[in-house]
């Protein structure tokens, strides 16, 4: 396969040298093209940061592959984000704590192995087990027996399997949770809950080289660091069959290069239009530029462990800061409307029914420089006379918006040094400063949902000592309401309780919501029917290649 690639590139190079035409994305020569669904498209990609195991992939590039390679019990609708049954025949519970799962029969992995209840239970046990170093292990934390296979306190692992999981038949298994969690089945669409074939356990190294799953695509070849060729799996039993012949995921060092390649016609799909090109995207691509909401919210968190920021009365200063930020203007100018000003702490992709409530934040998130100044003065002024907004400088272009936020605050307070950005060299260093509680001012916090539930936007971020409660904000009232909501079996009532909790968060301004992030993508005229799902991943299987 590498040989073939080389030959193609050699031809391309010659063509380029002759100034003839730009080189095609690779569809025409590898599948015959045409509208018969056999054309192959090329898409931008980045090297996954972790080995491609489902429970070990926590970033979007690896997630892209898993999304094409696996199908789990549930799958989130590409448009509404609703969790629909995929491999699950049914998931039943009477008490929100014990669930019985029936797996549809007739599904197989692409190596022919049948997908059974055991495929799930084995995979989950593997993901939860401490000795396997899976970074998403905490997803299994709600399942009974997790503390034995994954002792949090650094103790010894005393069990190999989760006691809450029991295979009761070829296609049925039961789950026992360690707490009531009514919407638990809806979390099962997350990649970490994917089933794994026996081949994964038998020859792990070989599987990692060329992963095998049960999704609409199979991996044809994988050259680490350059390209992964995914091809349509013809015998895929599901209904969401691939409508194209396959996808070549090409690794790019920079999304700007991918964008340039798209313009030159060498690439079919860029799912992350670089910030600097957003202003040109419309004119470069016309209607081949899409910008759809994704389940991502950006906030500013505060170090509540710092006595300057944590003391009583500071909520006025925090609210004042929030009101000093001109979200409208920043999202329009810096982000070219690929962000929407936030007015609550969730995301529009949840929908009204799911818990998103526009304007829940109220005046506190409206730009009002005069009131902002009053509020801050009222609350005793900025600690030390200056706020420093920390961010990591190595990934994402955070400098742009932090500078803009600071300018907005400075203009509101009429003091050109009231707010400055504080870049931190590496992401790891930034995270270390956060986890070791060393921040002395507000810092960037972003959250991409794991599953489209309001619970996922609140509990991991603001519950006392939750895994992503970076600012260490704490409120008994909030915790109580979240606990109640989780135990509530009626969906609408649960959502209402979560929103009540959100109001507690608002009144204390535990974190300043900035904006909801959209997914933005551009594509070539070779392909059509391109859409991004709420996780800002392209819905590859629906793309048509002409």
């Amino acid at each position: 396969m590498r040989g073939a690639t080389h030959a193609r590139w050699a031809v391309c190079a010659t063509a380029a040298a002759l100034a003839a035409t730009a080189c095609g994305g690779g569809g025409d020569d590898s599948g015959g093209g045409g509208g018969d669904g056999s054309g192959v498209l090329s898409s931008s990609w980045g090297d996954p940061q972790n080995p491609l195991e489902p429970a070990n992939t926590n970033e979007v590039q690896g997630g892209k592959v898993l999304d094409m390679l696996f199908r789990g019990l549930k799958r989130y609708d590409a448009k509404s984000g609703e969790a629909n049954d995929m491999l699950a025949e049914k998931i039943e519970t009477s008490d929100s704590q014990n669930f019985t799962v029936t797996v549809k029969s007739g599904w197989t992995f692409s190596n022919g192995e049948a997908v059974s209840a055991k495929s799930f239970v084995d995979a989950w046990n593997y993901g939860a087990s401490l000795k396997n170093n899976q970074k998403n292990a905490y997803f299994f934390g709600y399942i009974d027996g997790y503390d034995k296979v994954h002792p949090e306190d650094g103790g010894k692992q005393t069990a190999q399997t989760l006691s809450g999981l029991k295979v009761t038949g070829d296609n049925t298994f039961t789950i026992k949770l360690n707490q009531k969690f009514s919407t638990f089945p809806d979390t099962l669409g997350y990649a970490a809950f994917a089933p794994l074939p026996q081949a994964f356990f038998d020859d792990h190294a070989a599987w990692l080289k060329k992963p095998v799953g049960n999704g609409p695509y199979t991996i044809d070849s994988y050259a680490k660091g350059s390209v992964m060729k995914m091809r349509k799996w013809d015998k895929y039993p599901g209904e969401d069959k691939a409508e194209n012949g396959g996808v070549d995921l090409k690794v790019y060092t920079d999304n700007n290069t991918a964008y340039t390649d798209l313009m030159a016609g060498n690439l079919d799909l860029v799912d992350d239009v670089p910030a600097a090109q957003l202003k040109n995207a419309k004119s470069d691509l016309g209607d081949r530029y899409i910008n759809t909401p994704a389940g991502i919210i950006q906030t500013l968190a505060f170090p509540f462990y710092d006595k300057n920021w944590g003391k009583d009365g500071m909520e006025k200063v925090r609210t004042g800061l929030s009101m000093a930020i001109n979200r409208e203007q920043i999202t329009e100018t810096i982000f070219q409307k690929t962000r929407t000003p936030a007015s609550d702490w969730t995301s529009p992709v949840l929908g009204e029914a799911g818990g998103f409530k526009e304007g829940l934040c109220g005046d506190a998130c409206e730009y009002d420089p005069k009131k902002a100044k009053e509020m801050i003065e009222d609350g005793g002024g900025l600690p030390g006379g200056q706020v420093k907004i920390s961010y990591n400088a190595d990934t994402g272009s955070h400098k742009e918006w932090v500078d803009a936020v600071c300018n907005s605050v400075n203009n509101a307070l009429d003091n050109d040094k009231a707010c400055v950005g504080n870049p931190v060299g590496t992401f790891a260093d930034f995270r270390n400063q956060i986890t070791q509680s060393k921040m002395s001012g507000p810092f960037r916090a972003g959250w991409q949902m794991d599953y489209p539930l309001i619970q996922n936007f609140l509990q991991p971020l603001y519950y006392t000592n939750a895994s992503s409660n970076d600012g260490k904000w704490t409120s008994e009232k909030f915790d109580d309401l979240v606990d109640k909501a989780n135990a509530e079996t009626d969906q609408a009532k649960a959502v209402g309780l979560f929103q009540d909790a959100e109001k507690v968060l608002r009144d204390d301004m535990g974190a300043i919501p900035l904006w909801y992030q959209n997914g933005s993508a551009g594509y070539s005229d070779r392909i059509s029917n391109v859409a991004l799902n709420p996780f800002s991943l392209p819905v590859y299987n629906e793309i048509k290649v002409s």
Partner: protein
Amino acid sequence: MPEQPTPPEQPRPDRPLPSMPPGPHLSGGGRAPEDGAIAATGMGGAMDLATEEGASLQKVPGGPDGTGPQDRPRSLWSDAWRDLRRNPVFIISGLVILFLVVISLWPSLIASGNPLKCDLAKSQEGSQPGHPFGYNGQGCDVYTRTVYGARVSVTVGVCATLGVAILGSVLGGLAGFFGGAWDAVLSRITDIFFAIPVVLGGLVLLSVVTSSTIWPVIGFMVLLGWPQISRIARGSVITTKQNDYVQAARALGASNSRMLLRHITPNAIAPVIVVATIALGTYISLEATLSFLGVGLKPPTVSWGIDISSASQYIRTAPHALLWPAGALAVTVLAFIMLGDAVRDALDPKLR
């Protein structure tokens, strides 16, 4: 002197080899008469010519600094100065640099605005009355920022260049002059320094510094920049050392320091000046790279480098935001290149 048909066999002065232990001052005396004899037939002519010219030039102004005929070696440097004062290139570049220094000290003389006052509504807008250079991506006035950026950028550029040039040429010059163990140790130290990637060095060395002044940044540049100048200076000194006039000076019993200062430095300094003047520009840009990495100057510092790097992104939509700070950088580098050229010419007696 390769034009002579008998290259290596001819009776060359047997210079101390780089691998030999140091000590031309010990052994040099022994070889001296022979070396001197040969030297006289070679480059000596040019030397004579130069000193004659120097002497005759000295008579023309006849100022008070003509302290006497014995003090001739000093006249090389004073000649150079005399030369420079009449060189229009030197005067122009000097004036430009003076101007830069003035606006660095008092930027408000020519810019009344506040460089930190930015209005996002005006982002990327072009030139308009009162704001001749337009606005950058954050909606700050490009003209004001370019004027205010001079202080940091010129200070960083000049101080880092001076530091690198002095440290590098002293260490490299000594390594080249003495050779042997000195050279081996110094050269291997430069090798180790070369191995440090700038990104890593910056992230490690600068992230531990909490000071918000420009000095850590300058210190970092000197630390990572000196090996290059050191190598250039070493190579240059090794070549210059071969010249007959140096051998002649040694034959006449000149001390090491005298040879280094009077004979080698003026003749070996040209490549150092060239590299240093260009490096000045790259240091100003490097400051931006460090800021980009989050370890350089902390906001709200205003500098050309920072403005250039943030404008680079918007090159397709707002090229003017890049043009002006980059232009200011270019003018600064030009002034120093011209200055360097003039100084070099003034130090070269053959050009008189």
